[in-house]
């Protein structure tokens, strides 16, 4: 190097690397292109994988990756266009098979091409943001085959036609269908959805809309539901066999909408076979099917529930206001219980014990039971009946079941205090006449009422039981103390009843026969001797007596009669004939009771220990009565019942109601005072609402009554009206 050159320092131009062979890339690509052709022509056996791999590697290494990639796209596209032609040419039914076969071929070819180009796929593709070979192959298939003008619609039509034929009952090649839908899914979920699923759902919708129209014209509700259920199952099965699992929700919702939701009202109200008929005929299977199908659609449940509720209310209402039913209270309640059982079973068996249905059932019962204001009385009578005789020989568990059912009805009652009144009366009768079958059952019923309504509801009922027990002790004590002096006189059994606990009517005691009176006086002396500061009154209207009577021919009978009857009969110990007036004077029994008592002694066949002149059914003031010495009976003991109305007579009912109203007044007042005491100042409407909620468990207070009570409290200066705002009340402490 010369010095001059050294001074004129010059940067050499950058020398490009020497190109190995300008045609190198072209040649190599030709080899690879040929290989791709051979692969598509099923002629790959002559190819050397190692050589092809090395060639592809070299192209990428020498920066011909772009050429390799674009060459691949062109070659593959050309082949796919050829394939498209052959698929298009396939005749009729062979179309799908050809498509499926070519799809298999393409996948295999794609795998082999990817093997050759593996190096490109690994290095060139990611760094140049290209689509990887496999994905590229799928995209090209999608664009050139599936979206080819001639194939796209034909494919869709063929698929939809096959499905239609299968719906009509034909057998189709499910395996082929599976392969084709699998192909669509492999091409991406959007291809499956756009090119198949959406049109499939549309066609299905119109198919089922037509079919459901046809079914509903000619089938009854049960059949229709069966068919709808079958169709639904078929579609689910179809999805599991050859569609994408994600389609299931979509296709079932189409079937649900077309076959169920659109015809819901018509199905439910279908004449002779709709929901009401199913309920009436206990068609558990149909009901359960309806429940399961309707569950799938919006408002399905509410539709069933509404119809069931209105049906229940209607039938219940007819039951409770039917005058025929009112004659027999036991049957009336039994029918209510049967109805409840029937529908409970339906809800349990067919409606999956659905809570909302149970609530609907309860509210319906509550609605119609309270339509009849005698329901409390009837329910109490039903219990009375059961506890008197109905439960004889029944196991303890069964007793519990019956009582639980009654409690269920009791819960529906709004006027629980009315029930309490009647229950008290009926219980008193049972206890005093010794008619209760089982003490345990009685107590269990009281415990149930107590848990339901609280202590105060049952305290008086419990008091009655206590009285019965203490009376027994008292009687034992009485006889123990009087043993020596008693002799042969009549035996007296006294039940001492606490005033207030028992539903006693104030009654003037009748004149007792002298024999009895003396014993009574002894007892009074004994009782008042042991308990100071008490007052005893005789409830002669409630007692019973056993008397021995001797009739003509020396026939002896033991007569079981009421206290009044006993008084009357004792008169005939000294006389053979007495007029009505005489009897009335001697006994001082109230006229209505006396008439009833005489009627039972003289007018009942087989028990007529008296004879009446003139012979007639009714008792008149100028009748005369004779001792009937011709009386015969095959029984030694004869029970002479009083003619008592089991059910209350109209005036009695009125009276009870009045008493109930009277009893409610202090309760309402107490509630008002309680509320005002805590709130000090409150407006009228709020008081009414609060009082109602407080008393709801016992009865529904009438707002008018509440208003009257408020006024009464104002008069008694518990409350005052606010001076500025007349609507406000103020509590005066």
């Amino acid at each position: 190097m010369s010095a001059q050159k050294k001074r004129n320092f010059k940067i050499e131009a950058f020398k490009h690397r020497v190109e190995v062979d300008p045609k190198y890339a072209e040649k190599t690509w030709k080899i690879l292109e040929h290989a791709i052709h051979e692969i598509y022509n099923h002629n790959a056996s002559g190819l050397s994988f190692e050589e092809l791999y090395r060639n592809a590697y070299n192209m990428v290494l020498h920066k011909y990756g772009e050429k390799l990639y674009s060459g691949l796209v062109t070659t593959m596209t050309w082949h796919l266009k050829e394939i498209a032609k052959s698929i298009e040419a396939a005749q009729g039914g062979l179309f799908l098979e050809e498509l499926n076969r070519k799809w298999g071929d393409h996948n295999k070819a794609l795998q082999m091409i990817r093997d050759i180009l593996m190096y490109m796929d690994r290095t060139f593709v990611p760094s140049n943001h290209k689509t990887p070979v496999h994905e590229l192959g799928l995209n090209l298939w999608r664009d050139n085959i599936i979206h080819s003008h001639k194939i796209q619609t034909r494919l869709l039509d063929t698929l939809l036609d096959l499905i239609h034929r299968e719906r009509k009952g034909e057998v189709i090649n499910r395996g082929l269908m599976r392969n084709i839908t699998k192909m669509l899914m492999d091409l991406g979920s959007s291809v499956y959805q756009e090119d198949f699923e959406r049109p499939f759902l549309e066609v299905s919708a119109s198919f089922y809309s037509g079919e459901s129209q046809q079914f509903i014209e000619c089938c009854d509700c049960g059949d229709y539901l069966k068919k709808a259920e079958r169709r639904l199952n078929e579609e689910m099965e179809r999805v599991s066999h050859y569609l994408d699992a994600k389609s299931e929700a979509k296709i079932t919702s189409v079937v649900e909408k077309e076959m169920i939701a659109n015809h819901m009202q018509r199905l439910v109200h279908m004449e002779n076979s709709g929901l009401v008929n199913m309920l009436v005929d206990d068609k558990y299977e149909d009901l359960s099917r309806m429940y399961n199908l309707f569950r799938r659609v919006p408002e399905g449940f509410s539709t069933i529930r509404d119809v069931m509720t209105s049906h229940l209310r209607e039938t219940g209402k007819q039951l409770v206001i039917d005058p025929d039913r009112l004659r027999d209270p036991v049957d009336f309640v039994q029918r209510l219980l049967d109805m409840k059982d029937k529908h409970d079973k339906i809800i349990n068996v067919a409606f999956n014990n659905d809570k909302t249905f149970q609530n609907a059932l309860n509210s319906s019962f509550e609605y119609f039971i309270n339509l009849n204001n005698r329901s409390p009385e009837f329910i109490s009578l039903y219990v009375d009946d059961k506890l008197r005789k109905g439960l004889k020989g029944v196991t303890e568990e069964d007793v519990e079941v019956v009582l639980d059912k009654v409690m269920m009805l009791f819960r529906y009652l709004q006027e629980k205090d009315v029930f309490e009144k009647y229950y008290k009366q009926h219980l008193a009768k049972r206890l005093l006449s010794g008619k209760t079958v089982s003490d345990d059952a009685e107590r269990s019923m009281i415990v149930k009422l107590k848990t339901e309504c609280g202590y105060q509801f049952t305290s008086k009922l419990e008091g009655m039981f206590t009285d019965m027990r203490t009376s027994q002790d008292t009687m034992q004590g009485f006889y123990a103390s009087q043993y020596s002096e008693m002799g042969d006189g009549p035996t007296l059994a006294v039940q001492v009843l606490t005033t207030g606990s028992w539903p006693t009517q104030p009654s003037t005691p009748c004149n007792l026969p002298a024999e009895i009176l003396s014993v009574c006086e002894k007892f009074r002396a004994y009782y008042l001797g042991t308990h100071t500061g008490r007052r005893l009154t005789w409830q002669t209207n409630m007692g019973t007596a056993d008397i021995k009577a001797t009739f003509g021919k020396g026939q002896k009978h033991e007569l079981n009669v009421s206290t009044y009857q006993m008084c009357v009969l004792m008169l005939f110990n000294s006389e053979d004939c007495l007029s009505y007036k005489e009897i009335e004077q001697a006994t001082e029994i109230p006229a209505s009771d006396l008439k009833r008592c005489l009627q039972s002694l003289a007018c009942v066949k087989g028990k007529n220990v008296l004879r009446k002149e003139p012979m007639s059914k009714d008792i008149a003031e100028d009748d005369a009565f004779y001792f009937n010495d011709k009386f015969t009976s095959k029984f030694i003991k004869v029970k002479i019942g009083t003619v008592v109305a089991q059910k209350e007579s109209e005036p009695e009912k009125h009276e009870t109601r009045q008493r109930v109203e009277e009893d409610r007044k202090p309760q309402i007042e107490a509630a008002i005072v309680r509320i005002m005491k805590s709130r000090r100042v409150l407006d009228h409407n709020s008081i009414v609402t609060e009082v109602t909620t407080q008393l709801q468990s016992r009865f529904l207070p009438n707002p008018v009554v509440i208003k009257k009570r408020i006024e009464s409290l104002i008069e008694r200066e518990f409350l005052e009206r606010d001076k500025a705002d007349r609507k406000l009340y103020r509590y005066l402490a």
Binding site: F49, Y119, R122, S127
Partner: protein, 444 residues
């Protein structure tokens, strides 16, 4: 192949190798050797003496065949690593090589594997380990990217924007947060390709549907529900934590900074999978008062927080300079400028820092002027803490010091990161980073 025998013969660059199809199957279908014997290609013995001819380096083939046979990698000293890697790439066996190159991570078995000198001037900001054994180093406005072979790729250049934090979303994608440049509405956070350094996506922040420019700070990823979190500060006091979707790259949420909680300036974010919360730590010396909080982003509430406001007064007090949530999600580990470790219970709000004397590294020595503040990392139940030019490894429930890693040169460690079964430590003075890995399991 002859029936009954699955022997395969190769002629690689003139040298004959014989092996079995079973061994080649170890290579997998995604490799050249696996595809070669695939049924799609002619399964009959190739022509020319019944051997496959491969025009490649026989010495490397021997190493790779041995790798397929034993699963172990033994490179003779006469084969440069780069040559072996290139051949492995040809056969599609690079992943096999990487898997055999080093063993599963254990802090007590680490050995220095390499020391890579950096080119950038000035202090490094951060080093992050990638999931496949690569790493990236942020310096100023550049991010240098290294793959697991420690080959440097095209760096990510941010055009004079200061890089605040980097993180691997996956092996191929790196998220970079940067300081906002004045006068531009372009945001401070982008997704870059790790192989080419290209910008792939820019993350935006919108307030009231208006795209705003912002400075992004610390980063964290949630791999359970595919979210990216970054501390953000906008120019109009929009401080808080931005949340983006990893798949779409779109902003899905923004947690605005409540008063008393420093979020927008955070030094460290950490997503806790177990409790579905994000830990945010803003620490000394960025702020005078350290704040650590746990955010529930769905409820939009701070479920746990701690601050030393009012506790520390002078500069000599113990200051929390780094914090990490432990892997069980029950406690936060913190470190002060003297490398005392401290713990805080995340399940109670009252505790405060429990400084642990047992794990103290050495007698308290005031670090010299040039040193960096300590950093912490937790991995596989082990706790790592850097001070000066070493990294301490603490093990067990008592956090006992078990190992110290010290590199050869480069000054104190300014950042380190664990990932892809490797530990990378970036030195502050000389721009060198050390790679530590666990050797493959012993033979016996």
């Amino acid at each position: 192949m002859a029936s009954g025998s699955d022997r395969v013969r190769f002629n690689v660059g003139g040298k004959i190798f014989e092996t079995t199809a079973t061994i080649l199957a170890n290579a997998g279908r995604q490799s050249m050797l696996g595809s070669l014997l695939d049924e799609f290609w002619d399964p009959r013995q190739p022509a020319g003496g019944g051997e496959y001819f491969i025009d490649r380096n026989p010495a490397c083939f021997a190493v790779l065949l041995d790798l397929l046979r034993t699963g172990e990698l033994h490179v003779p000293p006469n084969i440069p690593e780069r040559l072996l890697y290139r051949e492995a790439l040809f056969y599609g066996l690079l992943d096999h090589v990487r898997a055999a190159r080093w063993g599963p991570f254990d802090g007590n078995l680490l050995r220095p594997a390499a020391s890579v000198p950096g080119r950038a001037p000035g202090d490094g900001t951060a080093i992050r380990a990638g999931p496949d054994g690569g790493c990236c180093v942020a310096h100023g406005s550049m991010v240098h990217v290294y793959d697991w072979m420690l080959e440097e790729h095209r760096p990510i250049s941010l055009d004079y924007q200061q890089v605040n934090d980097v993180g691997y979303l996956e092996a191929q994608s790196i998220v970079v947060t940067a300081r906002e440049r004045l006068g531009r509405v372009e945001g401070g956070m982008g997704l870059f390709s790790s192989s080419t350094g290209e910008l792939r996506h820019r993350f935006r922040v919108a307030h009231d549907d208006q795209v705003k420019s912002f400075t992004a700070g610390a980063l964290s990823f949630s791999n359970s529900d595919y979210k990216i979190f970054a501390s953000c500060k906008g120019r109009c006091n929009e401080y808080g934590i931005g949340v983006w979707d990893q798949n779409t790259g779109l902003q899905v949420d923004f947690f605005y900074e409540p008063t008393g909680c420093l979020l927008g300036d955070a030094d460290k974010l950490q997503w806790l999978d177990g409790s579905n919360c994000l830990m945010v730590a803003t620490l000394f010396p960025r702020t005078d008062n350290c704040f650590i909080g746990l955010l529930d982003l769905r409820e939009k509430s701070v479920v746990w927080s701690w601050s030393d406001a009012g506790i520390t007064t002078s500069l000599d007090d113990k200051r929390v300079v780094h914090a990490i949530a432990m892997e069980d999600g029950r406690s936060v580990c913190v470190v002060n400028q003297y490398e005392d470790l401290g713990f805080m219970d995340l399940r109670s709000n009252a505790g405060g820092v429990r400084w642990s004397s047992r794990s103290k590294l050495m007698n308290r020595k005031v670090p010299d002027e040039e040193s960096c503040y300590p950093k912490l990392a937790a991995h596989g139940g082990q706790l790592f803490s850097s001070l000066n030019d070493g990294i301490s490894v603490f093990c067990g429930p008592e956090r006992v010091l078990t190992s110290t890693l010290r590199g050869s040169y480069g000054g104190s460690i300014c950042d380190f990161s664990i990932g892809g079964d490797r530990l990378f430590a970036l030195h502050g003075d000389e721009n060198v980073f050390d790679v530590w890995e666990t050797p493959p399991s012993p033979i016996f």
